[in-house]
């Protein structure tokens, strides 16, 4: 590898690509598998020297909004998130299609098919289609890098945000990436139309028409995109459309002989009709292979499903309807013989993730179980998204819900409204500042009879220990939202404070109103990391 080639994760390739393409600011909230984009930027000398914005945002909505503000000023910007983060950011994201961009804006979303670290496996291309925003979907790390340049150009040429869609296996896989010549940042340049971003109904109607009018041009771009390639094949009984990383799984199976079928590599949307028509005219059947949901397949099939070619894929059982793809699933769909392989022996036990030894959540759950589950039975504790969600598993089995960021407090409130007593919420410090504060305000306004545990480990732990916006502010935030200061209780969760912890919970269960209990002890992982850094720093 030469000096210009780096060994990068797909996530890191996106970060480096944006940096080289003249980005001025990144905005993101951590979420697997997107976290490493911002982490790379935060460790980048290039970003530090240019003072590129790279501080985490409170949540994905604030991230996209801040990015949109930067785009307003004419500068290039990127917002990054996991797929479910895009739900949080859906409001600004959808409307950014209507305002359009000034400086280039890329919304990078990393989907997690098979739910390795997620609550669902939704496909972000659906939301991009909904917003009528073009999508770039890299097949490899080099494309992930290069597409940042393309996406910014596209964004500025058509005044539209662009979605860069990754999936787990490209986000978290490393490969050689050849860098291009870095571009300078844009200068500040306000939008020519000072009302472009004012979505008052009268203006929004005009902007929306503009968005609709852009669509044919965006499709032209996809028809002529270097990332969409049509490979001819002699056997036209079948045509293959493979999007993003699925293209690799097709090619993996044609290493020894060339693919005999016409093959469309699809990496830029809107769906390029030119190629689809060519394939449908040529082939008896079309097999659509895409990572995620059958987005292209469904569109091709249509409701009536009576086109000239038979469309196959995830909806017809050639490929599984759910879960991520791999070379073997694709091999079967292509009708090729499976490689011989052995079944794993039965002796293997599953090894689910677990709370780390010494984790403060362990002490919190011991106390919560004693004060609530042992006294009132199972079913009273609503939880949230983070390491502490592992409290659902043995040996704790302490929690009864995990739906979306912040839902613990609001679900506990709804259950209390219905008459459930006790009704408790468990939420982490970072999740609380992400989406828990507004729900707590709802509870305060109605003086709901709930106990909220904010498990404060002073970091965003599950994604690897990023800074938490809640750091040192939880008391003030809760008091500011109107929680009675006497019912904001702190405790250091440890084995020797267990009885005191249980006592506090009992006292707050007796209080008819909103109580907040904050068990505060640093994450053992970040503590260890700090100790290591200190040790290494001391040696140097």
């Amino acid at each position: 590898m030469d000096n210009n080639t780096l060994l990068l994760l797909g996530d890191e390739a996106v970060a480096q690509g944006a940096l080289d393409a003249g980005v001025s600011g990144f905005y993101a909230y951590p979420g697997t598998p997107s976290t490493e984009i911002m982490e790379y930027v935060q460790h980048s000398k290039q970003a530090a020297e240019k003072n590129i914005h790279r501080t985490w945002s409170a949540n994905e909505k604030t991230a996209v909004e801040a990015a949109l503000g930067m785009s307003y000023t004419g500068k290039r910007t990127m917002a990054m998130m996991k797929h479910v983060g895009l739900n949080v950011a859906a409001d600004p994201f959808i409307n950014s299609g209507i305002t359009g961009a000034n400086g280039g804006i890329i919304v990078t979303v990393a989907d997690d098919p098979s739910m390795h670290s997620s609550q669902d496996e939704q496909d972000s291309r659906v939301l991009a289609n909904f917003a009528m925003v073009p999508i770039l979907e890299p097949s490899n790390q080099q494309e992930a890098y290069q597409m940042c340049f393309t996406a910014f150009e596209l964004s500025e040429k058509f005044q539209t945000p662009v979605m860069l869609r990754l999936t787990t296996r490209i986000a978290h896989s490393r490969s050689g990436v050849k860098r291009g010549a870095p571009l300078d940042e844009n200068q500040l340049a306000m939008p020519e139309d000072k009302r472009q971003f004012v979505l008052l109904p009268a203006i929004a109607r005009g902007r929306y028409k503009l968005l609709l009018e852009k669509q044919p041009s965006l499709e032209d771009e996809a028809n002529n995109s270097p990332y969409n390639r049509y490979y001819e094949g002699s056997d036209t009984r079948l045509g293959i459309i493979a999007s993003g990383i699925a293209y690799n799984y097709v090619m993996e199976n044609f290493q020894d002989q060339p693919c005999p079928y016409p093959l469309l590599k699809l990496s830029q949307y809107p769906i390029p009709r030119k190629y689809i028509e060519r394939m449908v005219d040529q082939c008896d059947e079309v097999l659509v292979i895409e990572e995620g949901m059958p987005v292209v397949e469904e569109k091709l099939r249509g409701l009536l499903d009576r086109g000239p070619a038979v469309v196959k894929g995830r909806m017809t059982g050639e490929l599984p309807r759910d879960g991520e793809l791999n070379p073997i699933l694709v091999r079967k769909a292509l009708g090729l013989e499976a490689h011989p392989s052995t079944v794993a022996p039965e002796v293997i036990a599953p090894r689910p993730p677990a709370l780390c030894p010494g984790c403060s959540h362990i002490d919190a759950y011991h106390a919560i179980n004693e004060a609530i589950k042992a006294e009132y039975g199972d079913g009273h504790v609503f939880a949230d998204i983070g390491c502490y969600t592992l409290g659902a598993l043995p040996p704790f089995e302490a929690i009864n819900s995990c739906v979306d960021m912040g839902a613990s407090i609001t679900m506990a409130k709804g259950a209390a409204d219905a008459g459930l007593y006790p009704s408790a919420a468990v939420i982490g410090d970072s999740t609380f500042t992400h989406s828990g504060m507004t729900g707590l305000l709802d509870a305060v306004i109605e003086n709901s009879n709930i106990v909220v545990f904010i498990l404060d480990n002073s970091t965003t732990a599950m994604t690897g220990g990023q800074n938490s916006h809640a750091n040192g502010r939880l008391h003030q935030i809760c008091e500011g939202l109107g929680v009675d200061a006497e019912h904001i209780r702190s405790i250091m969760p440890k084995r020797n404070t267990h009885d005191q912890f249980v006592q506090i919970i009992k006292e707050e269960l007796d209080y008819k109103g909103v109580s907040v209990i904050i068990p505060q002890r640093e994450c053992v992982q970040t503590q260890l990391r700090r100790a290591k850094q200190k040790q290494q720093g001391g040696k140097a």
Binding site: M1, L7, L9, T32, P33, T35, E36, H116, S117, R169, I170, H172, S173, R174, S175, G176, I245, Y247, N248, Y249, M251, E252, Q255, N326, P327, I328, R331, A338, H339, P340, S341, T342, V343, A344, P345, V347, I348, A349, P350, R351, P352, P353, A354, L355, C356, C387, L390, P394, P395, M462, T463, G464
Partner: protein, 195 residues
């Protein structure tokens, strides 16, 4: 040339340090590389794997197909068995025999080792014990890398360079210790391979 390796272990055991050393050696040998890693929830003590693909021609899939792995390199015995469907019929299973017990229902180790023995090409090595003997308490991963290196079509010297690259920051003493650990692992595999 193509070399597909499944690295296996438990979150926190540091299998990516192995990937770094082998990956560096591959890149220095002018080979193409793809390396799919496990990040996120499983890193909290769950089962983790990394797919390391090395080739002298274009690598497409980031994942090793089932039945195609040339080596399963596992730093934990039960985890080595989890990925057996990936192993090619000619492939080598190289595993540490020291169990990592963080689940209440960890199976009888004897049964696990017996299953390892059924794999036609295998090396089972008490890498934790060997690392301790070598006074390199954190050297288990390099014992394993050395043992598996026997079945890699990569210049052994390049792997040593990988260690210099990975551990250079920590000083010459640590580099030398880990190179000795790597060599000891390889020697064990030479003397104890199943076939």
């Amino acid at each position: 040339m193509k070399l597909d390796i499944i690295l296996a272990g438990v979150g926190g055991q540091g299998i990516l340090s192995i990937a770094t050393v082998i990956g560096y050696a591959a890149v220095q040998s002018g080979l193409d590389l793809k390396q799919a890693e496990t990040h996120g929830m499983s890193q909290r003590g769950g089962d983790v794997q990394s797919h390391l693909r090395i080739s002298d021609h274009t690598i497409y899939s980031d994942l090793v197909p089932e039945g195609a792995a040339d080596i399963i390199l596992s730093v934990e015995p039960m985890e080595s068995l989890r990925y057996i469907p990936y192993l090619s019929p000619q492939g080598w299973l190289v595993t540490n025999t020291t169990p990592f017990k963080n689940i209440p229902n960890y199976p009888d180790l004897y049964k696990i080792i017996k299953e390892v023995g059924k794999v036609p090409h295998h090396v089972a090595i008490d890498a934790d014990g060997m690392a301790k003997e070598l006074k390199n308490s954190r050297g288990m991963n390099m014992v394993m890398t050395g043992a598996a290196s026997l079945f890699m079509d990569i210049d052994f010297e390049k792997l040593k360079e990988g260690i210099r690259y990975s551990f250079g920051r920590k000083g010459q003493e640590i580099v030398d210790l880990n190179i000795a650990t790597l060599e000891a692992g390889r020697k064990f595999a030479e003397e104890n391979r199943s076939s």
